[in-house]
């Protein structure tokens, strides 16, 4: 449903507005908008300043002070803040739009009412499917938003070279190319932390290209080891990190001159412990930044976005202004945007919230670049649908009908039972366990063991239409019924993961996703219990967050109906091809032991 509306245009550069900003500040020409009588939450000085007026022109603040009467003319829209707080628009310092299964546009629609006016997004998932073209699509979509959506260039595509074949790969050359794009703000989380400490050419090259472009290198040091590997990683250049979980992690990062990014996502709860570095240990808060990393649509619809994070941080004992600094000026400063956004001050983009209760962060109205986007939690701006090109759709290339027999695992000749390796899902954790099980053989084919919760997992190649299917076993979902769930969200290479107790259902599920261009589907005895269509790269819906969240609820109910009681069960499903986190995973090359980074056989 493409809208007739034109997308929002990029803000005029400050240099093109400067003369008008001065003219408005001096009262020589009227402002576009004046906000009167607010309490200025000043993230520079750390004060709340009563009785403040703001004057805005060209989407930027021209005047912030006690009286903007002189900026009001015939065409000026005047908003009475009635003594409420004027808070800078919130910034999400690191996040993945794809985690919401949404387009950038739908994500922005969902989070604008929650006060998020700037996002630093790493389109790592689409990059694994569509490479540089995919990054460019989201980059261009981002530029048409009414809020500020900056793009971090994905750094690790594929995540595990040699252990998987993603839809694309990005090297230093592609990264250098992207650094020249207008909306690229830096390098996305450098996840290959051993590679950085080992001076891996690809990692060092990617970082070098970013630093040469004067941009910010995002970090991702996913290890509790604060010894040499950490120091080697820091020396390699990442300027921030969001993988800390303990106060000591945050302190270590800040001491080394990095920004400690503290995340509260749908499944990340890393603020409470780490913020004690500030609240209990007195570490200077200026180097702390709040972010979400990954938010599901349901979280956005029900719990919020950066407003939720700021509220949570205040709940942990931070002063409201300190928490707000961590989601505004600290973020802007980190990305070299302090003169551009992240505060209510002259010259900055006029991104601000009218808030009736500061500690509760009760957001009455949201403005970005001087345009009202939301009021009382409802979107008021018309943000047109963004049309993705056909190349972004039809990315599920199966090349042939998948049959139940594709999932048949042939036993070694003459065996009646076999010992097999089993991927063991651990509830609420990303790592898996490398388990083993003894399974029966019937007609030369290995059977499953529903009683002991061992069913099949398959990775169906979907980028190049090779027709390849890797088969293995998984335990932990607890399916008690005939069923199969397939997903083209399959981190990080995003082939298709099919988990099932029944090979017919597995084939039906796989073919269904092939037919609709990707998404996630649950089939039981040939019947479709739940479906979330994700036609864009097989990763993103083109529907609203509310609709996606409702479909995800149906999916969750279907999984429970089939016997799965895991928390975040779908997320667990989608992570089983993540061949960078131990112990056992599946990829298009087969079963991978991530402890040794080696392909292993299904049979022990």
């Amino acid at each position: 449903m493409p809208s007739d509306n034109k997308p929002f245009s990029e803000p005029k550069p400050w240099t093109e507005c400067a003369r008008d900003l001065v003219n408005v500040a001096m009262g020589r020409r009227p402002a576009d908008m004046v906000v009167r009588n607010g309490k200025w939450v000043n993230v520079h000085s750390g004060e709340v300043i009563p009785a403040t007026d703001l004057a805005i022109i060209d989407g930027r603040f021209a005047y912030c002070g006690p009286d903007a009467s002189h900026c009001i003319g015939d065409g000026t829209r005047v908003v009475d803040a009635r003594g409420r707080y004027l808070v800078p628009g919130l910034c999400d310092g690191h996040m993945h739009v794809e985690s919401g299964m949404l387009t950038v546009t739908e994500f922005v629609r969902a989070v604008a009412p929650h006060g998020t006016t700037s996002m630093f997004v790493d389109p790592h998932e689409i990059a694994n499917v569509l490479g540089l073209d995919g990054v460019r699509m989201m980059h261009d979509e981002a530029m048409g938003m009414p809020t500020n959506v900056f793009v971090q260039m994905p750094s690790c595509v594929p995540s595990a070279p040699g252990l998987e074949h993603a839809g694309a790969s990005l090297g230093p050359q592609e990264i250098a190319e992207a650094m020249a794009w207008p909306n690229i703000i830096g390098l996305g989380e450098v996840m290959n932390f051993p590679g950085v400490a080992a001076n891996d050419q690809t990692m060092a090259g990617a970082i070098e290209a970013t630093v040469k472009a004067g941009k910010t290198v995002g970090g991702h040091y996913a290890s509790p080891d604060l010894g040499l590997p950490f120091h080697g990683y820091v020396a390699g250049g990442p300027a921030d990190d969001h993988e800390g979980t303990r106060a000591e992690d945050a302190i270590a990062r800040v001491r080394q001159g990095m920004k400690a990014m503290l995340r509260l996502g749908s499944a990340w709860y890393d603020v409470a412990e780490q913020i004690k570095a500030v609240t209990e240990q007195g570490i200077d808060p200026r180097n702390f930044i709040l972010c979400t990393d990954d938010s599901h649509s349901g979280t956005l619809v029900r719990d919020g976005h950066m407003d939720r994070v700021v509220r949570h941080a205040i709940g942990q004992g931070l002063s409201p202004i300190c928490a707000i600094q961590m989601a505004t000026v600290n973020t802007a400063q980190h990305f070299g945007l302090e003169r551009e956004l992240g505060s209510i001050a002259p010259g900055r983009r006029a991104d601000f919230l009218i808030v009736s209760d500061l500690a509760a962060l009760a957001i009455d109205e949201v403005y970005a670049r001087g345009v009202q986007l939301a009021r009382d939690g409802k979107l008021t701006a018309d943000i047109p649908v963004w049309d993705y090109p056909d190349t972004a759709k039809n990315t599920v290339r199966l090349s042939r009908e998948i049959a139940a027999s594709d999932f048949a695992i042939a036993a070694p000749a003459g065996t009646a039972e076999v010992d097999v390796r089993v991927i063991g899902v651990i509830e609420n954790q990303a790592p898996t366990r490398a388990l083993e099980a003894r399974l029966p053989v019937s007609g030369g084919i290995v059977g499953m063991d529903r009683v002991n919760d061992v069913c099949q997992i398959a990775l169906v190649e979907r980028h190049r239409g090779t027709g390849a299917v890797s088969n293995a076993f998984v335990s932990g979902f607890g399916y008690t019924q005939d069923c199969a769930m397939a997903s083209t969200v399959a981190h990080d290479s995003h082939h298709m993961i099919v988990v099932g107790t029944n090979r017919n259902d597995m084939a039906i599920a796989a073919n269904r996703l092939g037919e609709i261009g990707g998404g996630v589907v649950m089939i039981s005895k040939g019947e479709e219990l739940a479906l979330i269509e994700m036609p864009i790269a097989g990763l993103m819906s083109d529907e609203r967050a509310e609709i996606v969240a409702a479909k995800a609820d149906v999916l969750g109910a279907a999984m429970r109906e089939m016997g799965c009681t895991l928390n975040n069960a779908y997320m667990q499903h989608s992570l089983l091809a993540l061949v960078v986190i131990p112990e056992l995973r599946i990829s298009d090359v087969g079963l991978v032991d991530v402890r040794t980074f080696e392909k292993v056989d299904v049979f022990v």
Copy 2:
């Protein structure tokens, strides 16, 4: 005395060091230097961390942590800090080298023992004499320093277009050109604050060129008016300001998103009042930066430089670490250099001090880029003399011998007495008073009135050899003897100011400066009482700070001997052509009333 030594080379870019930094951090190759057992003054976290080791390679920190044993190899120099403090090298956020009457090299020699390892210098004075070429000379000299000397491109040359003719003029085109030079860090103090608020084309163009280059616009809002003119100035783009004097000035600047630069120079004492914004009013200190602006050689030799400012700030009640932040990481961050310098952290230039008492800032050793520069207050590094080209010398172009008759002021025909305008010097203030006096006429020439402290002032054109001499009267120096003092430091256009009670001595003084290429000289009855040679642009000596300071002491004594008891008397002399500060000044176009910005006649 050019030295055989080569100047220091610029530090290798981080991108060229990154692999070695990682290798040292990981213990795969030895560091150039390891500092053991220090107390890490961590300006990021705000902590002092005991028992810290630092490993350095290529002039950058590779490892900062509890144990650098693994970084030590055969060639590694190991320094035992013996539990003393490791403090980042100090940064001077805004200053003029010329104020010391020194070259960049001699300034660096003088301040390195005081712990200054980064300076942000605005070569405004040489720009008024030699234009872009002069800026380039100091820029290139700066690049050869062992410390970090960044150049702010002068923004207001001449200071008062139309009211004076400086040796050169710089417009937006020259500024855009300079922004591409490697060591230009931003735009120097935008002094024409009414011009910014009026959208003056030259000012707006200069700021635009700077912002387009992604660099920092320095401010200079020299007015106590925090109303509309201030808001108009802020809207025009300056990102810092060092002209505040009251706590409310600092607070106003920080609230508007500017950095409040607090200066303690030889004649500026603006820290004590303004720092109360932090110590008494709780304003967030992160947006405060310490600087000197102007330091005379005597101050450098006797009192120090940034160490003096930091000590003073601590003396005003700041915690040592907060004061140090204001002279290190805050400054670096402001200029976009946070990843490059201003802290002891991996990747940064290894600029640090070994300090035995933190609150007293007792500096035992000074290192820049891993090289020891000073120990126990004495320079230990050999910093070679920098040879200025001939075009920088011989800038005093008089084209002819100046005669006593050049200073004869002809009275209107037939008068025996005349009423004249007199520039009134005010002790310890930059503004002058517009006075009047009745003077006798003898032989058609106006006489002076030594009893009432009215003597002559002349501005001798010296840039283009026009032979022009502007004559007028001045009061306030209190000269009681036959004497004349001439100076080619004559802010901001730097012609030659001659003040005298005797026209013969005035001519001798002027010719003496013509002969030696500039400086300052005091003549009495034909005898030379004091001389400071400043052959470089007539602004800077090529001698050591100690020698210049000693000569300045002789000059001060000579002025006192002649009857002048003013504080900072030489500075008062050199400011009398500053046609931007009220009330009455002299320029090459004549007597100027700076209240109305109009040329006025000597006779009332």
